[in-house]
């Protein structure tokens, strides 16, 4: 017989309330008919995506000359946007895998939406190297495959590490998302009828929640989290080595890997806030994603934003301390050169705006968090823009210095990437449970016949 103890006087902060049946009902309700606002947002996303497609078709036809590529700058807006979207993904894996291993209860309510964001952000990022290479139809040259010249990729190059890191990240985060969805799809399957039921029956892959299934599932989920944890830290480190292993001034820093990982998580949480603040209202799940969750997300933003503050300061200090005039010149121009506006956008939006989150009033005010999240998105895009463009414009050969002027082709593809990402995220939110039904239920004790609490 189980030991019967008294129930705790209050539900611990952040724990979900209601019964198991309430959770299923509320989450299944989010999959109901789409509201007008949702349809408008989706149409907006598709329109942006079409702008991107059109721009891409022109690029395929005429070549990359339309984009602002101009010596000495051959990495520009596409690579900036690639790093931006890869970074966005990192917050999702941090919340779904790392906080799972840390047993953080607040993760449960938000992890599904952030994990979906991860998958779609990495899907978006993956397009950019392919757009950037110019001759997109031979992108497979990046992969090690037997070819008629018996050539293999150069595995000492960080660019090929990136191919492996990004494709592994996309595969593993998609696997993790789909795996976590299985029991929830089964719960939806058992609530709906008609053709929707047939679709969810197929996608649930025979899930019934038997003791045997849970036994393997729980173990496997733990191992997937344990594998995804070092993966997420490695992916943005590898992306940073694309820069740091060169000798370009402003790139050649040992601080780059942790600096990029912190920035990635910071930008990702910014995007999480931008997405779930409107989403929770549109789907009427305010009681599931509460101020408590936003407070915790904001604390994580504050932590990573402070790491960025330190990294920015350290970059300037090391540039000065190195005594290298090119390094010093690069950092001087970031603040006072022709790109000063981008340099200060990055510093103010990332290092300083995040410091507002020391105040609890701001952390728990949803409107202020939403505004801050927009600053974060802008600031983190500009961080990559500044790092990439300012370093390439002024390297060691002063007669070859130059400036970048982004063109309509750069902005068209950038807009298209937001449309592509938004389209997938919106479609996901309306077709699959955006809050993890099964994990929320795990936090709600099941009723007892003898009363009391285990």
């Amino acid at each position: 017989m189980a030991v019967v103890s008294h129930p705790p006087a209050v539900v611990p902060e952040g724990h979900p309330t209601g019964t198991h049946a309430d959770v299923t009902r509320d989450v299944v309700a989010t999959l109901g008919p789409a509201s007008r606002g949702y349809v408008l947002l989706l149409l907006g996303a598709v329109a942006l995506f079409l702008i991107g497609i059109l721009t891409f078709l022109i690029l395929i036809k005429d070549g990359l000359g339309h984009a602002g590529y101009n010596p000495p700058i051959f990495w520009s807006v596409y690579i900036t946007t690639f790093v931006f979207w890869v970074g966005i993904g990192h917050a999702g894996t941090l919340i779904s895998a790392i906080l799972f291993l840390f047993r953080s209860p607040w993760r449960t309510a938000v992890y599904r939406s952030t994990e979906a964001m991860t998958v779609f952000a990495v899907m978006t990022a993956g397009l950019f190297p392919i757009i950037h290479i110019g001759r997109q139809w031979i992108f497979y040259w990046l992969l090690p495959y037997p070819n008629q010249r018996f050539l293999w990729p150069n595995f000492k190059s960080p660019l090929i590490w990136d191919v492996f890191a990004i494709s592994t990240y996309l595969t593993v985060s998609t696997t993790f998302l789909v795996f976590g969805l299985l029991p929830d799809i089964a719960a939806v399957r058992d609530k709906v009828s008609g053709w929707r039921r047939s679709i969810y029956t197929w996608t649930a892959a025979g899930w019934q929640g038997t003791d045997n299934q849970w036994r393997h599932y729980s173990r496997a989920y733990l191992y997937l989290a344990a594998l995804a944890t070092p993966l997420v830290l490695s992916v943005h480190s590898v992306v940073s080595w694309d820069f740091a292993s060169s000798i370009v001034p402003g790139w050649h820093g040992t601080i780059f890997a942790p600096y990029f990982v912190a920035g990635a998580i910071y930008s990702g949480i910014g995007m999480v806030l931008t997405l779930i603040i409107p989403l929770r209202r549109a789907l009427r799940i305010e009681h599931m994603i509460t101020e408590y969750h936003f407070d915790n997300l904001a604390k994580l933003t504050l932590l990573t934003g402070s790491i960025l503050l330190y990294a920015y300061g350290m970059e300037y200090f090391v540039a000065w301390y190195s005594g290298n005039p090119f390094e010093q010149g690069t950092f001087f121009r970031r603040a006072f050169g022709p790109m000063w506006w981008a340099g200060w956008t990055m510093i103010i939006c990332n290092a300083f705006v995040s410091q507002l989150l020391w105040f609890r009033k701001i952390r728990t005010n949803i409107t202020s968090l939403f505004v801050i999240s927009i600053f974060i998105n802008i600031g983190m895009w500009f961080e990559r823009y500044v790092i990439i463009v300012s370093s390439l414009s002024n390297d060691y050969v002063p007669w070859a210095w130059g400036q970048l002027n982004p063109t309509w082709a750069d902005w068209g593809i950038l807009a298209g990437s937001f449309g592509w990402f938004g389209m997938w995220f919106l479609l996901f939110a309306k077709n699959f449970p955006i809050v993890a039904i099964q994990e929320i239920k795990e936090m709600i004790p099941m009723p007892r016949r003898r009363g009391g609490h285990h």
Binding site: F155, A186, D190, K191, G209, D211, R215, Y217, A220
Partner: protein
């Protein structure tokens, strides 16, 4: 709901429970009666049910380990072999250099480790799972289900389930 083909239905009793302690009592009682091949449904994994069922640790971990090791070996094997297959000597540096290849080996360790973990779950939970067992949609919502394959002792099992606190017991014919 068998994935690949419809299996013959197993005869037995399907009980539904609202209370977790009632379900745990029923499982302990059935196991004491000698019923080891129960199927217990629950909306989420529950440690009380796990304790009562007393399963062995899932063999999934072995697949994770083997997948990871194969990935690691494949990563180093591929990079070193490909370097020597078309040797390019640059600045007197080693043709195959281990530190940069750690990145490839690491990524493939994670990739194959994760994929083999999921493959193991698909194998054990779905493909090798028990077929033709009665199910009820409420088990993914808020109830716990226990299916007992029962023959002659069906009435004894039913009494046990009801006295433990089942809210519903129904007989599933073959």
């Amino acid at each position: 709901m068998p994935l690949l083909k419809r299996a013959k239905r197993l005869p037995g009793l399907l009980a539904s429970f609202v209370h977790i302690d009632a379900a745990v009592d029923a499982i302990r009682g059935l196991r004491a009666m000698g019923h080891r091949d129960l199927v217990v449904y629950s909306p989420s994994p529950n440690h009380e049910l796990e304790e009562a069922l007393n399963h062995r640790v899932s063999p999934v971990r072995l697949f994770t380990l083997i997948g990871g090791l194969i990935g690691c070996a494949a990563g180093f094997g591929m990079t070193i072999w490909m370097s020597y297959d078309w040797p390019v000597l640059v600045g007197g540096k080693p043709i195959a250099s281990i530190p940069p290849y750690v990145v490839i080996a690491f990524e493939l360790t994670i990739l194959l480790g994760a994929l083999s973990t999921v493959a193991a779950v698909a194998l054990f939970s779905v493909l090798l799972g028990k077929r033709g067992v009665a199910y009820d949609p409420r088990f993914s919502d808020d109830q716990i289900g226990i299916f007992v394959p029962a023959g002659e002792d069906a009435s004894r099992v039913e009494n046990l389930l009801r006295s433990a606190g089942a809210v519903e017991v129904r007989y599933e014919a073959a």
